[in-house]
Amino acid sequence: MSRPPRRGLAPEALVAGGVVVLLVALVVAVFLSGAGRSLYPPDAATVQAQDTRGLYDIVFALAVAIFIAVEGLIVWSILRYRRKPGDDELPPQTHGNNLVEVIWTLIPTAIVLYLFAISYQTLNAVNAVSDTPDVRVHAVAGQFQWKFEYLDGAGNVLATQTVPYYATTSADCKAASLTNAACGGMAVPVGQKVQVTLDSPDVIHAWYVPRFLFKRDVVPGQTNKFEFTVDPTDAGQVFRGQCAELCGTGHRTMLFTVLGLSPADYQAWLASLVEIAQRTPPPAPSGATTLQLTAQNIQFDKTSLEVAAGQPFVIDFKNMDPAGVQHDVDIRQSDGTTVVVDLQTTDGGKESQYQYQALPAGTYTFICSVHPSIMHGTLTVH
């Protein structure tokens, strides 16, 4: 490889060097000023997420260094090696250099092997599941609702929480969940190992909480399992979560929150949930009108119901879809969005006796809050 004779520093070199230094200073200033902070993950809320965050910092530092080096080289070449008007002389026809090729193959190889090694280490920590977790939760994601079952050591269901359907955005859920743990669906004790198993009765979903820096797909026919420990200082914090795998028209409405509670508060919360679950429903008031309604293939078998005004009534509801597919029969105003009566869902294969207070005469909508786009009908009260 022939080299041109060494000359003094050309004015282009000074300009080019100046511009490169300026660009590097700009990048550094952006990050130091905090504007670049939005390129960092949010505060890590679990022990596992802190590992991932540490890994992210290393990868990010290397990324910025490589970015500055290569873009710097490009900018330098653009500014320094411009062809002057009328210059018809060819530059040295360098065809390559085997030594440099080997060097810039080996150095990146070393860098990526290093990145792989530290990623692998972190992966083992993040992916670890223990045989004896402190809390077991079975999360079922169906179109378009999350259900969280709290299990005892033997895997029996102690209590179940479903996330109500919200027609608007997570703002409602957040406002509600600050005062009411039930809104979010999931409450966990901080500082304790929480093991989550995931199942889906229909399509693929994903359990994703940004502040945990973690997601895991919910795959029908395959039970995925992961574990996390919320940072002990995060008691009382609410972490937003949502489905991250396209699951249909209601995808964006599959929101949930994870509420961090102190272990004592968690035990009290779980006990109240268990008590509600074990409470026997009061018998239907005698003489109340009883209607029959069945759901199958994500459809109600009736599109209209009629009851008398000013009298309580009962709907014997049968959910004939597979286990995991949740339905309920809520009452809304005829606009389909204003909630009049909101009830707990019924799992596939189960039956419920839904009881409703007396309604004033008028036209209402009965609707499945899990599948509002395709499961609704008219309730006429007269």
Binding site: A49, P108, L115, A171, Q222
Partner: protein, 545 residues
């Protein structure tokens, strides 16, 4: 000394339209590929503007029906990948590759015409989904089952079936095209054009064709299984009847990851043609570049499951390692390009500016890909807007900038007229500013937790500003297309006459007239290196200097 003098068979006069509809000339077919792909670029871009308009503010503004929103992003991606980028690059290859190797045409001219005409048909099939009662396909361009199966709340309409048929048709077109390229490159090179004297563009099309040939039948099998599930009672992907939902993803990505290289390698080839010409130096490390291209092609088949890290159903360390490793040959290429410019004499015509745009943007697309190769970080980033940012830096910052470099570079060869430099620079500035304004903020959105494919988001999630910026950027990109279209319109009539070799090129397309005659060459220069036209211009002395 090989001097080819070929004259076309004399034919009776035909009307211009009839001539284009029935042509088997690779140049006309190549131009039809380019025009057809560009029309689909405009269509796909319109869908993207719909998506961006919806996301500009929280709340539902544009789409009252979220199903329509899902149709828009699904069809946007399908059109851009299968009907724009892949055929656009195949079209440029169709025009340029035979000329660059000194061949009179493709090996199978009629099959060439067939593979082109399948594309508009496939596009019409795909878009006709909007006329069907259930609407177009809305399960994303990845179309994962069970969501893409028949069922309430899944994909009950015939739009999904039209999507399947359309992709199978495009796949068939790709396979025919790949065979045609391989035979052309192996059997029809001019005397003296050894494999290691072929232009890098030809090498990238060669490797791309191998990828297409090996991978496309695999996705076709996934699509056929999905079609059987949907229409004939199959249960390949139904986990409740003995099927497996993840099976589809393995088969789908076994094609669709190599497809990324199908979309990027020819763009790399274009850039490797443009940079040496406008730096007045040979490509630094020509052979290393070829080995890196082949290396990317080979490694490209061992990384597919990095799209599936969060499924809990893949062997994570292997796919993580291979994904990291594929950065190495890509890095080698990046350094070779930089050192091609280093100590050159650079002039900044529009093709060169777009090629530099490719370098700077593709670099970002490579670097942010390393984050996703690291499995724990991917657990945070997968299926968020970070991934949307990454793939657009690769496919837009890479493929589309490379494609425009190629269009500006070869437009004089194809039409005989130069494009206007001023309009070209306006186009570039608007596009690169709009591109970064659109896609850089998506890194922030993703890392802060915004998932892909949602029509709406909470107003207090902290995503408002970046989303508004991205939407403004999206419309800026759209506006950058206007000076380009105006440029083409004006230059076709009044552009400066190009002459045979307006850029002082290196490769054989610059040794013939602009546009080239039927069968391309009246006579060929001697081919003694990868730069025969450079040799003819400067002689061996300059070459050895």
């Amino acid at each position: 000394m090989a001097t080819h003098v070929l004259t076309p068979a004399t034919t009776a006069y035909r009307s211009g339209l009839y001539e284009w509809l029935t042509t088997t000339d690779h140049k006309k077919i190549g131009m039809m590929y380019v025009i057809n792909s560009f029309l689909f670029f405009l269509i796909g871009g319109t869908f993207a503007l719909g998506v961006r308009a919806e996301l500009a503010y929280p709340g539902l503004q544009v789409f009252q029906n979220e199903h329509v929103y899902n149709e828009f992003f699904s069809i946007h991606a399908t059109v851009m990948i299968f009907l724009f980028i892949i055929p656009m690059l195949a079209g440029l290859g169709n025009y340029i590759v035979p000329i660059q190797i000194g061949a009179p045409d493709m090996a199978f001219p009629r099959i060439n015409a067939l593979s082109f005409w399948m594309l508009p048909l496939a596009g019409i099939l795909l878009l006709s989904g909007f006329l069907s009662s259930g609407g177009a396909a809305a399960a994303g361009w990845t179309s994962y089952p069970p969501l893409s199966e028949v069922g309430p709340l899944k994909s009950p309409g015939s739009g999904e079936d039209l999507w399947i048929l359309s992709i199978i048709l495009i796949g068939t077109s790709s396979i025919l095209g790949a065979i045609n390229f391989l035979v052309t490159i192996f059997k029809m090179r001019a005397p003296g054009m050894t494999l290691f004297r072929m232009p890098i563009m030809v090498w990238t099309v060669l490797v791309t064709s191998v990828l297409v040939l090996m991978a496309t039948p695999v996705i076709t099998s996934a699509l056929v299984m999905l079609f059987i599930d949907r229409n004939l009672g199959g249960t390949f992907f139904d986990p409740f009847h003995g099927g497996n939902a993840i099976l589809y993803q393995n088969v789908f990505w076994f094609y669709s990851h190599p497809a990324v290289y199908v979309m990027v390698l020819p763009a790399m080839g274009i850039v490797s043609e443009v940079l040496p010409v406008f730096s007045r130096k040979p490509l630094f490390g020509y052979r290393a570049f070829i080995f890196a291209t082949a290396g990317i092609g080979a490694l490209g088949f061992s990384v597919w499951a990095h799209h599936m890290f969060t499924t809990g159903a893949v062997f994570l360390p292997f796919f993580s390692l291979m994904t990291f490793l594929i950065a190495v040959p890509t890095g080698v290429k990046m350094f070779n390009w930089c050192f091609t410019m280093f100590r050159g004499k650079l002039s900044f015509s529009t093709p060169m500016i777009f090629a530099i745009g490719f370098l700077t943007m593709f670099l970002i697309g490579g670097i942010n890909g390393a984050f996703s190769a690291s499995v724990p970080i991917d657990f945070a980033l997968q299926d968020t807007y970070w991934v949307v940012a990454h793939l657009h830096y690769v496919l837009f910052g890479g493929s589309v900038f490379g494609m425009f470099a190629g269009l500006y570079y070869w437009f004089p060869k194809m039409t005989g007229r130069m494009l206007d430099e001023g309009l070209g620079k306006v186009h570039f500035v608007l596009m690169i500013v709009g591109f970064n304004l659109t896609f850089f903020p998506m890194h922030m959105l993703g890392i802060q937790g915004m998932p892909r494919r949602i029509a709406d988001y909470a107003s207090d999630a902290g995503w408002n500003d970046w989303n508004l910026a991205a939407t403004i950027g999206g419309f800026l990109i759209a506006s950058s297309i206007l000076p380009f279209l105006w440029n083409v319109f004006v230059s076709l009539r009044n552009g400066k006459i190009a002459g045979d070799d307006p850029w002082q090129g290196n490769t054989l397309e610059w040794a013939t007239s602009s546009p080239p005659p039927p069968y391309n060459f009246d006579r060929l220069p001697e081919i003694r290196s990868e730069r025969p036209v450079f040799d003819a211009r400067h002689g061996r002395v300059a070459h050895e200097a």
